[in-house]
Amino acid sequence: MSEGDLAIRDVNLEHFSAHAEREPTKIVARLRGNADQLVRDELQRIISELHTEATRLGVREAVLDVRDLYFMNSSCLSVIVRWITGQMKCAIESYRIRFTCNANLRWQKRSLQAMATLGGALVVID
């Protein structure tokens, strides 16, 4: 695989989709729809591939654009929390995790703030 290729498979379900793109210093994964129990495994895969690719390509940031993600249940939230706590345990500093959020969505305001608090400098909320 060349360095330019991004090994993050898209998700295109009826009520949830995900697509990742590489930008010069970061990888941006855009999540849309509703992340409920049915998409938990797909979300787990995307986050896992995002982590692998961010590490392989040595980008500065892994961005989760959740502006069009209207709902995330606690199981899916657990996937994100595990990602963050996993990165917090890493001895080597790698990439930051940035959330591009929508202030009008209540779950984001409530959960992402707690996530930023949990992650400290590792997590940035826009």
Partner: protein, 510 residues
Amino acid sequence: MGRTSIAHRLRLAFLVMSVLTLAVGALCISRMHELNQATAKIAGHHLAKVRLAQTGVRKVHENGRSALHLFLIRDPRTFDEELAEQGATSREISEIYAQFEHLLDADDERALFGAITAARARYRSTRAEAEEVLRTGDRQRALTKFEHEVLPALDEYIDDWDVLLELEGRRANEAAVNAATSYARARAVTLALTGIALVLGMGVAFFVTRLITRPILAISDAATRLQSGDLAARADVSSNDELGTLAAAFNSMSEAVAFRHERLAREMNLAQHIQTALLPRTFCVAGLDVTAAMNPATEVGGDYYDVLPVHDGCWIGIGDVAGHGLNAGLIMLMIQSSVAALVREDPDRTPRALVTTVNKVIFENLHERLVLDEHATMTLLRFHDDGFVAFAGAHEEVLVCRAETGRCEAIDTPGTWIGAIDDIAAMTSDSSLRLAQDDVMILFTDGVTEARNAEGVPFGIERLFGAIEGARGLAVETIRDRVLDAIAAWAPQPDDDVSLVVARYTGPVV
């Protein structure tokens, strides 16, 4: 049914089809070969006769011409040569006769050939007489005899040949017609045999296909029924082949699924029982009318609430373990036990201190003992009977419906979740609010605001405000029930537990 494998059945079907095809093919080839031989024989036989007859007629004509020439020449030397030539022609004709006679196989042919032989004899006799006269030197009388006796005999002779030729031509035509009839019959037989082979082949193919597909459909049907929840679904296949083995394996699997499903259901019931049994049943807090309820979802959730009275008020806890199932129920049980034990030990510690200690306990249990990577939202509130409420820990907002305005306020619960990292002291702080008399405080889990209707629209915070504000003056139990009814009307089958704590501050305790 005996031990006949599908592969064996297919091989057998293929063999039957092959044998049928080969039999039809061989029969057709044999029939065509016979037809070909018969046609060739008949055609060759008749053609030989016609050819001989034509040669005979030609020789007779030559002989006739030669005879005429004999009567016209005057040179004795030439006469002898012509006579010799005529004799040679007569011998050839005799050989043709012999050959022709050998080929005769019908009475009418023999009769006609007899007539020709007789005509030939007459012709030869008259010609010999005329030749005798010519040898005497009386040319004129010889010519007269030739004209009046030899030529009519020759005409009769040739006419008889023509009749035979016509007969042979007719026979050849009849042979051609017979060959065409035989070909048509052979073609009809071939078509009929092909049709029979086709029908038999289709029948065999249908029978074999049905033998294979019927059990597959039975297994598929049983699988569909099992998928739709019919745990008694079994595949009714008794054959002793691969499909029978598959059906037996499916039936064993169904039994195992039913057994595990039953066991899981029992465990779930137990877990749900534990979850609800641990919830407080009575609420007796000085200065606070408090009630609560939890409507569990189908699957065991991880909702937590508790009300722990202390000397000057109470501790109220609310939280939600991420995910569902036994693990979530178990973690909720650990949170409840830890909070209850720590409150008993020191009811006057700060909410922040309590939250961070509970986090340590839960984190250690999860990561070092259970090896689970889970987390939970949790806010602990310390209510004092003067209306002061201190709280810490991240969960949903605390709602307060003010008696003065009749409107709800949503108060953030800053901080982070418990169980995710070992120490959250740095990110946890105490916050506070003050309740005025008759203010109603509502705590809830995300199952309330995220209960989604058929279109996927969540119940949301605004509808929750509306339900609370609409019932604010009523008893706390009525407020609770009105809110729960509104949620149930919005989402009859919620995916998550719905938990609600409703507390009205009744004023300072004197």
